[in-house]
């Protein structure tokens, strides 16, 4: 008995080693489920706060470039606004000329089902095989799970996976777990976008029908089927068609429009009619 106790005592480091290995492997394997759990909300908050402090410094350093990007975006929006105004004017004008009894229907306040929440990145990774982003907005700001995330340039960046009161975790497009329904903007053929884990600048568009028509340089946009993103949000540009073993080339290499290595400001997209859409889709499936 004495010998046994001495043996265990002398070799306690083996026991400790295997216990710790078991614990960390358990953490690693259940990672995505734990990420969603309540226990981690606290650690999310602590880590989020620390990253907020350090990203404050780096966002100051990048102030100039971010300002330029924002101004550019404002210019683009301004142009679009002008175009819309002109079109509205034309409609009004035409209505006025042809039919004196025509009354313009006022656009109802809740017309657009999309709402945008601006957010800043506090943590980002691009070098791992599964990449995630942390944002400085959480449930307190109205962020919910499964909302879409756009870069400041208006291109797709990812999908909200879990939310704590002040922070949210986003599955980046650079994650094999993320699948995005996309279409070729000129021909409307749709497929799903997947990252192969190699180059953070490129993704693959698969599940395209074999008769799909495309050419390099075509823009890939969101299909709008998923209730997460509005239709027509730019995602990337076709650079190459990858041959499959069967000979059908229905895999496209996409150059992503979002530069994940420099992304700093984002917009979270809320679909106010999401619940309605998912509910009816579920009912249809039953």
């Amino acid at each position: 008995m004495k010998n046994l106790i001495r043996f265990i005592f002398n070799n306690f480091h083996w026991l400790l080693f295997f216990a710790l290995i078991y614990f960390s492997a358990w953490l690693l394997i259940n990672n995505s489920e734990i990420q969603r759990s309540r226990y981690l909300v606290i650690s999310h908050e602590i880590a989020g706060r620390m990253h907020t402090a350090s990203s404050g410094i780096s966002s100051y350093i990048h102030l100039k470039r971010d300002n330029e990007a924002l101004t550019e975006r404002i210019a683009g929006l301004e142009q679009e606004l002008m175009l819309c105004r002109k079109q509205l004017e034309n409609i009004n004008h035409a209505a006025h000329l042809r039919d004196s009894t025509f009354v313009m229907q006022p656009i109802p306040a809740g017309f657009s089902s999309w709402r945008f929440i601006s957010a800043r990145l506090v943590h980002n990774s691009i070098s791992r095989t599964e990449n995630y982003i942390t944002l400085n907005r959480g449930t307190n700001d109205g962020v919910r799970e499964n909302m879409g995330v756009l870069s400041a340039k208006g291109t797709v960046a990812g999908l909200v996976m879990s939310v704590s009161p002040n922070f949210s975790r986003v599955i980046s497009l650079l994650n094999p777990k993320s699948r995005l329904s996309c279409k070729i903007s000129s021909t409307n053929f749709f497929g799903s976008l997947l990252w192969d884990g190699k180059d953070p600048r490129y993704c693959n568009l698969g599940e395209l029908p074999s008769h799909a028509v495309f050419k390099t340089g075509d823009t890939i946009v969101t299909s709008g089927y998923s209730a997460t993103f509005p239709e027509g949000i730019p995602v990337g540009i076709v650079t190459d068609a990858l041959e499959q073993k069967s000979g059908r080339s229905n895999y496209l290499r996409i150059n992503l429009l979002t530069d994940f290595s420099t992304i700093r400001e984002v917009l979270i997209v809320e679909n106010r009619k999401r619940d309605e859409q998912t509910k009816i889709e579920k009912e249809g499936a039953e």
Partner: protein, 169 residues
């Protein structure tokens, strides 16, 4: 003893902070990321008990994981490194060492310290990248990442050691 404890605690906190807020965000050519917190494991006293080394290794790995959102990944790697450190020390430490010293240029000699720190760093980085299940999908990228990260990490660790031993003198 207290002096060593305080120094190690300060090193622990500052290395975790530096790793999470600075080094983990660096990706040279998209492949090389410095992993510098290994320095804490390298600098633990030579005769510290194996249980304590294991515990401290798990602790620093877990801290990096919590702040880097990579639960389990760094912890698993540091536990294995902490366990192997004993064997590596037997290989590299000078035979005439009697006191419970901290590995450094002064106690190990420049040459032996280079080898010891290099081996620990290489082991740690290889484990870190190998634990990622999808890492082996692209073998060339896997090797490139290990090589790139190893070179940049060991350069920084040697730099830290130079500052450390310079201050000591």
């Amino acid at each position: 003893m207290t002096k060593i404890f305080v120094r190690q605690s300060i090193m622990f906190v500052s290395l975790v902070f530096l790793q999470v807020c600075l080094f983990s965000r660096i990706h040279v050519f998209g492949v090389a990321t410095p992993v510098v917190y290994t320095y804490f494991l390298i600098k633990l006293p030579v005769k510290l008990s194996r249980n304590a080394v294991l515990f401290l290794a798990a602790l620093i790995g877990l801290s990096i994981d919590i702040f880097g959102y990579t639960l389990g990944l760094n912890m698993l790697a540091t536990i294995i490194v902490g366990f192997m450190r004993y064997m590596l020390l037997r290989l590299f430490k000078p035979r005439d060492l009697i006191d419970n010293v901290i590995p450094s240029f002064g106690t190990f000699g420049r040459n032996m310290f280079f080898r010891y720190a290099g081996t620990v760093t290489l082991l740690h980085i290889t484990l870190l990248f190998a634990i990622d299940v999808n890492a082996f999908l692209v073998p060339s990228l896997f090797i490139l990442r290990i090589a790139g990260s190893f070179i940049i990490s060991s350069l920084i660790i040697y730099g830290l050691e130079m500052i450390y031993s310079g201050k000591g003198n």
